[in-house]
Symmetry: C2
Amino acid sequence: MARVAARKSEAAPARHPRVRGRAGSASSLRDVARLAGVSLPTASQALNGRARISTITRKRVREAARRLRYTPNAAARRLKLGRSNSVAIVPGLNMTGIFSDLFYRAVLAGVGSVFEEVDVRMLIAPPLRPSSSAPPFVEMAQAREVDGILVAGVVEARWVRAALGAGVPVVILDNFVPGVGAPAVVNDNAGGAYAAARHLADLGHTRIGFVGAAVDYPFGRETQEGYAAALRDAGLERDPALEAVTPVDADAAFRRSGELLALADRPSAIFAVTDKQALGVMRAAGAAGLRIPDDLSVVGMDDIELAATTDPPLTTVRIRKDVMGATAARILLGLIAGDRAARPVTTVANELIIRGTTGGRP
Amino acid sequence: MARVAARKSEAAPARHPRVRGRAGSASSLRDVARLAGVSLPTASQALNGRARISTITRKRVREAARRLRYTPNAAARRLKLGRSNSVAIVPGLNMTGIFSDLFYRAVLAGVGSVFEEVDVRMLIAPPLRPSSSAPPFVEMAQAREVDGILVAGVVEARWVRAALGAGVPVVILDNFVPGVGAPAVVNDNAGGAYAAARHLADLGHTRIGFVGAAVDYPFGRETQEGYAAALRDAGLERDPALEAVTPVDADAAFRRSGELLALADRPSAIFAVTDKQALGVMRAAGAAGLRIPDDLSVVGMDDIELAATTDPPLTTVRIRKDVMGATAARILLGLIAGDRAARPVTTVANELIIRGTTGGRP
DNA sequence: AATTCCTGTCAAATCGGTTTGACAAATGGA
DNA sequence: TCCATTTGTCAAACCGATTTGACAGGAATT
């Protein structure tokens, strides 16, 4: 029964010499150890530098690793270490996809820069859809496929809880889910709107129009509050006739602001809560024969790329999306590292960018 | 020396009852097997359905798995199976970041839809930078961290070779690297330009201006070729005075096309190779007092979101970025599955979208 | 009743690393 | 010279799954 032994490939040099470089055959630590003439654990230690290894041995192992183009197998390392060194980026319910949303695109640029720096992988999870079954990111948490989860936008509380229950930290971007242990990073919508309206008031405008967004969402509500607070602080009366709520796109804003401008006592300035809407306002001004900023001042919010190239360039409140993203990423890294004391909500301040669409009262 | 045995946790029920549900303690297959009263391999088989397992046992195991919210550990499975079920998306040298580029954003929407469907994870690799050391995606290949790589844009041939050498297939989007075994998916730039110019010729225009891009890149060269071919086929002479090359942005195009329109024998139509440039042309027309399409026809290329909302809406050649992305993804999946016969280059056709900026010759 | 064939289950090996602890050799101190 | 350290290496255990093959016990066949 000579068939018994000969399990270990050590036994005999096999029929063929070892096939190296064949497609699909990465070299393992075992190969490195063999080439360096040391045991497998020694090779591991030599490369990772944890234990007492003689300089000469370490050098031999390093050289062997280099020659074999050795790269540790990611799955093996993850299994042993219990960390995946990667995070999931989850497009929220309000997004059509991570790549299809202008706002999140910018936010994620900030996220990416932070994770790249510390060599953490970013996994794009499939976008959330309303559904009764667990979304993929929950499974990813339970499978320990990721060390942390960053949700961008709207998400159901129970799924966040499920992920946290699996021991995987979650940070929520641009949205706050109360009563769940997940810290959030949001824009200071109220502050931004305040700055915009205040800027117009400071220029001497007394009839300041408002093109807002639906108040059922935090964004719409908060910007309206900021606008109202600015008027109050400037000693101005709010006039419901000057306030409009429209969907967040240029066409809708074009139509509604046209009506505002047709008023006998029309506004001399308009604050639109998004640049897209501001673009619509500008078009409406043109259609009404009003010059900007001489006859009408306009302020937007967001600072989209296009804002700098309109004619005249748009004064706007810049939402620092990259900062939001980077902040969220850093908080998540902290939680992964074991921090327990993350603030429930971190608010990122805006920046007023004064360009050419605002001027003194005519 | 009673300390000897008692390694296996089976031995004694320890001081505390098993801590389940503690944060960070996912349940393993061992837990499931124990709860179901079967051995570990039996549990595995029961869940994966490969072998002969009695219905009753299978049911018991399934139930146990459900109760424990068992999800197989991703790293363990990957290690054993030798596949990671994920692919890397690599932003090419010409991109500032995967999220910062309008073009690739759209392409990646298509990529994402395909991979989501088959439950393959998408890893965003750090953007390439010119450097002598191996970019991250090569290491990811060598570490078998991904099963395949999708490069979007410009990439150095040697790094592609390195990844292929590690046995990981690569597909290149929007660029072709000759002499490397990586299939490419590109847009039919020449065909699109041909369609645009031909459309103008068919409308009766004989002096058709061209606002192109630098010919050192394939895009610039191919669109110019398409334009030239269309004129030739329509029996028109090319006039160098009507052809301009500008950076791909609205301002540059605005200036250069202004010069074209100032010519005594000005063009009655202009084809700009990108929508951004076409926007500049439209502005130049406005500045020169020319009405569109009555005095000047304009065609762009790309079909950016904005194109549909200009005044009048822009006639353009739609680059089907989502199709490009989906095609590349499918080819990559094929290669991962073992296909050997992928076409070196797959060209995706464009679509002429006729809107309001083109009309018959004045 | 003896033999063959299924069925259902499990022990053991494996994927490729990391880490603990044992041990031999070299060094230092008395 | 002898004992106590220190230093360098390796054997073995482990992470959490999958898969092969051995082995009982029951059913079917002769």
